[in-house]
Symmetry: C2
DNA sequence: AAAATAAGTCAATATGGCTGACGTAAACGT
DNA sequence: ACGTTTACGTCAGCCATATTGACTTATTTT
């Protein structure tokens, strides 16, 4: 599968551009971390792509199914805010998911203008499979890193989020987890 | 900028779906890590987007400038292998970068069919600015996580890469770092 | 009754991918 | 020396995902 031949690239003439920042975190130029995150994320999303492609879906459908599954009854406006896309962009994707029986919409109880979003059984199963795929990658990686890696990764990833947005994301996750 | 209103999403009825995997890494459902990585990566690439947009460039240009800067003299075929895109997809992006004086091409010395890629001063400056932006995010995050976070993050990110691809990525990074 | 809100839709456009087909120049193999 | 392969580029057409702007419909709010 996609066996590339990147061997023997020329060696960069400029030696390790440190750009360092103390605080007990010296020694690894940040550009290295930047590239690792790039490759890690590419493989991370790649897990889901094959499964989605077999259903005729793309990453946009993935995101919708995932968040609707995690937040049953969310409004369209909420979904737009989470995904940070426009309503026109969501339109086609949501319609396809509804038409194919992955997502259902119900008018709001107190406000009947709202179309509350829920996953149908098909959608829940798809979301479950997608989470399972990506969970497997995390499990493998964290096992390789040894004990404590999970907490460290959680803290690191949260810290990478824009400070102004972090509280909101944490709230989102806590809500979906059932706020235990 | 983009102040969303995601407050008060409904609470998920199904409690924390553990999907756990022992090894001293219990306690955080993987779905939480999945979402944190999603949001972290979105903000991570978002850093560059604004700067690129001002130049009329997109993420595709970012990747090209970055890797050409890190691997001066790389061949077009090497770049295609790293980015895993087709030569037709690269075509327009590379042409724009060359036309606007960010990247230069030189015929190979021993094989004159090759068009070796180099950043022009303009391209080097752009690459530097982009790395600086993303370095700033890493520095802030790692400082928040305390000592040792850098090594932990490096190990974690590397472990998230497909095992079959990891050696190749490590080689790529080592080469660019000057193989010290 | 008027205004604001939630959602959906139409149209046009941009970006970044893809496949297939073809062309050119240079290197390689027999 | 000739034919094949390689490295690169390009034309044409397609798809997926996103954008902005304008407009409609239903419903709630004021």
């Amino acid at each position: 599968m996609a066996d590339v031949n990147v061997s023997s690239l020329p060696i960069s003439p400029k030696q390790g551009q440190k750009t360092d920042d103390s605080q007990g975190n010296e020694g690894i130029p940040a550009v290295e971390l930047i590239e690792l995150l790039f490759f890690a994320y590419r493989d991370f999303v790649g897990d889901a792509d094959e499964l989605l492609a077999r259903l005729g879906f793309g990453r946009a459908h993935h995101r919708v199914v995932h968040f609707v599954n995690r937040h049953p009854g969310m409004r369209v406006a909420d979904l737009l805010a989470v995904l940070k896309i426009t309503k026109q962009s969501l339109g086609r994707v949501l319609r396809e998911l509804v038409d194919n029986g992955y997502v259902v919409q119900k008018a709001g109880d107190s406000d009947r203008r709202e179309r509350l979003l829920y996953v149908a059984p098909k959608g829940e199963e798809l979301a479950r499979q997608l989470v399972a795929l990506q969970t497997r990658r995390f499990a493998r990686a964290l096992n390789e890193c040894g004990p404590g890696a999970r907490d460290a990764a959680r803290k690191f990833l949260a810290s990478m989020i824009d400070p102004e947005q972090r509280a909101e994301v944490e709230r989102l996750i806590a809500n979906a987890n059932g706020k235990k």
